[in-house]
Symmetry: C2
Subunit: 295 residues, 2 copies
Amino acid sequence: MPFDLDPYLSARRQLVEDALAARLTALDETPAALLEAMRYSLLGGGKRLRPILALAACEAVGAPAERALDAACALEFIHTYSLIHDDLPAMDDDDFRRGRPTLHKAVGEAMAILAGDALLTEAFRVAAARRGVDPAGTAEVLFELARAAGAEGMVGGQALDVAATLGRPTLEELERLHRKKTGDLLLCAVRAGARVGGASEVQLASLTTYGRALGLAFQIVDDVLDVTADLATLGKDPGSDREAGKTTFVDLLGVDGARRRAAEVMDAGLLALGPLGAAAEPLRALARYTVDRDR
Amino acid sequence: MPFDLDPYLSARRQLVEDALAARLTALDETPAALLEAMRYSLLGGGKRLRPILALAACEAVGAPAERALDAACALEFIHTYSLIHDDLPAMDDDDFRRGRPTLHKAVGEAMAILAGDALLTEAFRVAAARRGVDPAGTAEVLFELARAAGAEGMVGGQALDVAATLGRPTLEELERLHRKKTGDLLLCAVRAGARVGGASEVQLASLTTYGRALGLAFQIVDDVLDVTADLATLGKDPGSDREAGKTTFVDLLGVDGARRRAAEVMDAGLLALGPLGAAAEPLRALARYTVDRDR
């Protein structure tokens, strides 16, 4: 019987939503306007792909999902901050996100910058909370989280993206840009979940191969959706990347070629999960979901 | 013989400058434009008060200054990011900082936002590096660092500051704003240095009293300097806080009253250092320097 992803996603999403709300509520010395801005973006929907990947990776190595909740929340805090800052007028200048006004449209630019800064900072506090994880594992997860999100990872990818509007990158350059911009944090989600779940080095290596493939496939599909989806489905301005003069995988491979490339990349990543057996079924289903999603 | 602060500051500053430059150089997969922007702000001068406080607190509990270098660098990364974001057009809209154009004037707003984000993120990677510090201590320092810099601390203070331009705060409210905005990170510098130096709980309590007083005295003096100094000495636009309609300690206490209050606050904090004896001489001298500085 094939693994049924929908009830799994519902249950894990609920875990994540509850944990995110609880982490915000705990910040009770936060000025009200700032907390409200953080809440608007953090609890305003979203697929919760990164936190669910962390939970699924934790389960894939035989540990309960709950053990990865702090890491999962930290990942979603970071993802949310990156969306807030990317949407700013000086960056992508987007007006809509998840079907609602972007944060700077809702609360002004100053408070949006601060809410992003706060979410990024609090991500590390959440990850440092050490509920049920040994201190050495906590420090290792924090280190990887900062590397994936920082100058050599996500922020570096954004910087390349800002520069990339000036010329047409090769496929290799485009893959490097996206590995940094989105791939490293998705990979980090898988590795962080596995690590707090007590993964062996061999398991961690398998999951790293999977996570890297998922990150690349995710971005290729994102580019396809930017061309094929409409505002109502996507929740943000479709075509905004093309309008900004950015080269996409669709530019280099065409829509069908990009879809094929995403499927090939993901298939190779799925092979690495073999040794993990049935415990990795959620990760396999999440890979299919990532490639086949329509938003 | 009184403690001679100048050679101490020179030596510790050199330690900090070298360590900061080394931490940046290690980020060799960072896109060149981003790394250049980070370098412009991080290595563009500055008093290095927070990192030197961390080193001095580490020494005050009998450990070598070098053990606190990672924490010291993390603090300066965070301080530098906060200046970059504070200077943005949507925030304080400042054109000069440390006698040079602010980062967004030099490299554009998008890259300035990203450089700030990168410095904030890398701060936690530096703090998680665990060179010579046990993992439990590392996780504790990371947790306090994030709390001091985050929604309940520095970013929260900025948010209050944005709101405070609308009305005149009481002295108590102004102290709360500044405790968050600058005090918490200065206190964190002292506590982090002491903790990685192996402070006892009693020592940590003494240094907490000192650090809290230093943080408040520092901001009161900052407000005095904003009125009394000129651009050449201060390196940034003097009077910019008053122009922005923000209430300062000088508004509430007058120049002389504010100076007196800073001295009183600091004297109370210095009392707490008594049990630490001669090892705390650098911290005592740093307190006098903070109250008597002209920039």
